[in-house]
Structure formats: C-alpha cells, structure tokens
C-alpha cells in the first residue's frame, strides 16, 4: 500500500542524505520524494511517497522521528491531506494527433507550455492518480519525455501543522 508522508526537517547540512540513507540502509522503498523550504526559514519539508504494510510504515515513521534533524512526521495515508503533483510531458504531435493531444489537455485542465511543429510540451497538475490517467492517454500518441515532481501534500482544513500536535 502507498503512503504519503510529510517530513518537516531542520534546514541543516546533510539532512536530505540522512533521510535518503535511512531508506536505503533499512530497505524501505521511496516511490517519490520532493523537498523544498517552507514559510519558516529554518525548516524544509520533504514529501515522501513510500509503500509497505502497516508495520513497515510504523517503523519508517519511528525511524524518521529518531533522526535528530526531523521535527515532525505527518502521515496522510488516512486521507487527511490534499495531494498534488506536477508533470511536464513532451509528446509527439503531428498532423492528426495534434488535435487529440489538445483535447486531452483540455479535459485534464493541463496547459501547453511549449510548441513545435512536431511536439507539444504539457504541464499537468493534480492528484498523482490524475497524472497517471493523463499519461495513460498521452502514451499511445507518442510520449517522448516525462518529468514528475513527485507528490506534495498538505493537511485538509483550517489548521496548519504544529510541532506539538
């Protein structure tokens, strides 16, 4: 089963390698990982998508918490978060397929961000399953290159995360 975790970390030297090394050293999976600063200057937020059963997830969460630089681990597996991912996709678009690509882009509320006579580059945003869906449709038309950011997630509702809750 897939799990999305937010890991709030001190913006310290080497913190990303500590997190990554924990996963490789203990044989946990990383499906995707994204990391960037937050509104608090000293804190970065890592969003991690991993897979494993309940026991594995509990260990992952505990092991992450054990890292000295980790401030908090939030598990969004229970649906308590909203997830988004962006993909940049280069597809072949010649003659008859050009219209088809545009139609798909329109349905998924994606954007064309670069055009040539032979290709479109598309920016798509949404829940990771939505990204999977648009890719499934684009693939037969000639998917040349794909970049995904990996998911980022934030809790639903009015409350922001806090260190003590």
């Amino acid at each position: 089963m897939k799990h999305t975790l937010s890991v709030l970390v001190e913006n310290d030297f080497g913190v990303l390698s500590r997190v990554a090394a924990l996963f490789s050293g203990r044989g946990f999976n990383i499906d995707s990982l994204s990391v960037a600063p937050t509104n608090d200057e000293g804190i970065s937020r890592i969003t991690l998508v991993t897979s494993g059963d309940e026991q594995v997830l509990e260990q992952i969460s505990k092991q992450l918490n054990k890292l000295i630089d980790v401030i908090k681990v939030i598990d969004f597996t229970d649906g308590s978060g909203v997830e988004r991912e962006m993909a940049l996709v280069k597809v072949t678009a010649e003659d008859e397929s050009r219209a088809e690509v545009l139609r798909i882009v329109d349905i998924f509320r994606a954007k064309i961000i670069d055009v040539t006579q032979k290709s479109y580059t598309i920016e798509a945003t949404g829940n990771p399953t939505k990204i999977d869906a648009i890719l499934d449709l684009l693939r037969p038309l000639g998917l040349k290159e794909l970049v995904r950011t990996g998911a980022v997630a934030i809790g639903r509702g009015a409350k922001a995360w806090s260190k003590d809750s």
């Binding site: 970390v9 001190e10 030297f13 080497g14 390698s17 500590r18 090394a21 050293g25 026991q55 509990e58 260990q59 505990k62 092991q63 918490n65 054990k66 000295i68 630089d69 980790v70 401030i71 260190k163």
Partner: protein, 566 residues
Amino acid sequence: MKMNGARILLECLKKEGVDLIFGYPGGTVINIYDELHSFKAIRHILPRHEQAGVHAADGYARATGRVGVALATSGPGATNTVTGIATAYMDSTPMVIITGQVPTHLIGNDAFQEVDIVGITRQCTKHNFLVKDVNDLALILKKAFYIARSGRPGPVLVDIPKDVQIAMAEFHYPESIEIRSYKPTLEGHPKQIERAVDMILEAKKPVFYVGGGVVLGEASAELTTLARLLNVPVTTTLMGLGAFPETDPNALRMLGMHGTYYANMAMTHTDVLVAIGARFDDRVTGKLATFAPHAKIIHIDVDPTSIKKNVRVDLPIVGMVKGVLERMIKVANKKSAAVEALKEAIKPWHEEISGWKEKHPLTYKQTSSTIKPQYVIEKLRELSDADAIVSTDVGQHQMWTAQFFGFTTPRTILTSGGLGTMGFGLPAAMGAQAAFPERQVITICGDGGIQMNIQEMATLVQNRLPVKIVILNNNFLGMVRQWQELFFDKRYSSTCMELPIDYNKLAEAYGANGFRATNVDEVEDVIKKAFATPGPVIMEFMVAREEKVLPMVPAGASLNEMVLNA
C-alpha cells in the same frame, strides 16, 4: 575572552566534565594538540591505533557511564575510527568523537587526507556534525554531548576543519540546550505502566527479559527490587549481563544462541514476557515465527524504534527504564494482595524452571590434564576481586565468559554485543583501567582477536595501566571453527592459526610480563602470579583446541531446538 577554536574545544570538554581523552595526532588536529600541551584539566592517552583509541573511550564509557571521548586526525585517522564508532553505536555507548578535517576552503577538493567522515559515519552515529564556523563550535559541542548521553545513548561525531580550530571567537558555553527536533520520551505512560503491572499480576508464567538498556539506564537496582518483589525469573542478554545478579535464585542467566537451556525454555513457555531495555536481536530470539509463542509481550524501552521492530508487542511503554521500573514497584506495592496471589500462582512455574535447571545446567567436563577454557573462566571468577571489571574480545571465549563468570554487578562486563568486533577486548579494558586505576581490570581474549589490537600493550606499559590479559589459546579462530565443525563437515578453511606465537616473549618485548599454563594444574598458579604482578600481564592458557560453546541454538532455529552436547 577570545580564543582559538582548538582552545574552545578543550574548554567545552572541560565544561562537560571530560578529564580523559584518547587521541592520535596528525596534520589537521595539530592545533588541538598544541593547545592540549599546556591544558592541565584534560589527560590525554595516546593509543597505538585510532580504532583502539575509540574502543578505549568506549570501554571508559561502559565502565563509568560517562561520555567517552576520542580524537583523531582527518583522512586515515578518521577512517580508522569507523569500526570503533560502529561498535559503540550498536551497543548504544555514549561517546563524542572529534575528528580534524581539511580547511573549509579545501573541502570537496580531494585534498590531502580529506575524507567525508560525516558522510561515512552517518549510518553508524546517533548524529554527526561538520563545524563550518568557529562561532558555532561551542553550541555544536554542547549539542553533541547532550545527544550522546540522553535518550538512547550513542556516539556522536564532530568534524572540525583545521581553519575553524585556528579561527578566533568569543568563548561562551551554553548552560542548557533545547533541540526542537530532538525530544526523547523519558517518562513512561502511567496508565500503560499500571496495565503492565496488572498483566504481570495475572500471569502464570512470567519472565523478565533484560537487555543492555537496564545497564545504560542505571536501573539495575530497580529491576532487582521488582523481580524480587514479584518473584519473577529474570533472563539477560549478553549486554544485560550484570544488570541482575546471576547468584540470585531468580536468575535464568543468559538467553539466546548460547544461552542456558532453562532461559530458552522459559522464553518458549512464558505467558507474559516483559522485555526491559532489550531489542529482540536475532541472536536472542532465534526463529521469529516460534519465538515466545504463548506470551503476551510487554516492551519497555526508551527507543520507540526498538518496539515492534521484529516482534509483535501487546503493551509498549516508551520511557527511561529506571523511571518506569520505579513506577511499577510503586504500583505493585499498592497491590500487595494481588502480589501474594501471583507468588502463589507462579509456584508451579518455578518448579518447572527448577526442573529445567536440574536437567540441563551449564556444564563442561574437566577430565584430563588438558585445560578446559570454561575452567579458566571459573578460576578467574574465584581468584579475582569482587569488583573486577572484565572485558572480552569476540568469539568462543566471549561466550564462555558470559556463561561461566557469573556477573553480579552492572558495568563489570564490557563486551561488543551488537557488532561483535574482534579487537575490542584489550583497548576496552585499557579505557576501563584508565577510568579506575585502582580496580582490577581483566580482558579475556582469544588468540585470534588479541592480535587485532595487540599494539596497545605499548599504551598499557607506557601509561602504567595494569590490565591483566587472558588469552584462551586454542590456536584456532575458535568460534568460526565451531561453525565449520557443526555445519561444514569439519572443513577448517582458514581458521587454524598455524603459527604459534610466544606470548611470553611478546609481553617482554613490550616491557610487560607473561605467564603460560599448558596443564590444568598450572591454571591457578598462573592466575595468582599474574594478579600479584604489578603492571600489565599476559596470561596464556593453552586450552582444549576443539572445545565447543554449548548449548547452542543454530542460526535460524527455534530457541527450544538447542544443541546440548554434540
């Protein structure tokens, strides 16, 4: 007052109460050494290898409970510390390791003697730091010591570039420290503790399974009180030896691969298993699927990752074991009727255990004149001081020491349990002896492992550290030979040491004394002579070459599938 980084480092160590460090000089720590030269508050011992320096600091820490400190130069000095650090990490020893680093402007340039020691040790330290600015140095050291000794202890490495050691800054040492991302849970949940006591009170076959956490957490007195109050049998891991007196009638002694028959049988039949500061290592559990199959499991540990890592747990309690046990005693004291009922209810359990003890006690046969290694261990116990500190190396002799020495006090057995590092015994004893110059310190080694840090004989002699070195010489890498005998048809591939070494002469070469016993009648004499001789002494015992450590649970077998005599 402004001072250079090197001096700030020493002032910080002094503030932390460090009075002894083990270190080895080199280009990137030469400024620290220059400051040390006139710094009277800290004694420095020069080992003959950085690995041994770290093991010595580790031995010092294990024997005293204080933070051990080691120092090494960059590059090869730093990489030489890695085995020592990993050893300490696996056994949760509080340590601070200081390494020199090339100047900050050269970092990343493949400079002379540059290694990324922070990268290399990331997975075998509790945490590590690279100091990039002299103004951060004091705060980082404060954090390093705090992290090393709090919660589940462990080694912390601080890498200090040469220019940071030279740069000047105002020295200010913070009195206290808060790290927002590091808040170990220290107090067990009161409700959980109460439930745990109730679970034990309802048990028919309870067992306490005690690990090194009880030693590290200074909770041996509380454990003993609780066990006696409830009359519950106690088994310890290798790391837990000394946490509960093996002379106590409730002692089941060591469990696991080379544990006692009765401890392993008790684990197999218990209905309430209380794990205290232990982590269900594979050498302890044997085959997980059949481990403690009838038991409800209560697990008390300061490290939440230890809980439910390999076995299911019915009642977890995260917190420092000392506080948790204190509270359990209080709760139990309020339920004296239930306690009396428990004592009554577990009478048949005690009888069952007595039966196992009688059927298969720990034993060996000393029949001919050939010295049995177990006999040497028993004689050592008999003839050594009551408060002697014993370190071991790794192998058969380590297990015989664990089985036959009969430890009764915490911090009197220093052994590499988690990593199983050959070469640990001698330097660890050196560290303990430096901490306790007046106490008897003995290291028990095999003829294989002793060679891995034999150069420390020089350090012992130079620093007048009168460690008594016992070599159980079977001319084999005995533990591996035992596996080859049992599981590889006696194909002794590269385990015979072939070349006999004259340890008497070796001792002499270092300016120490050596005695040898080849016959069982000489054992007592040699031990007595060695104990009466000032300074470091090597006692070499030519022991039965193919003696096996028994009982043995083969790797991957269930705890009740012991080989008792083969």
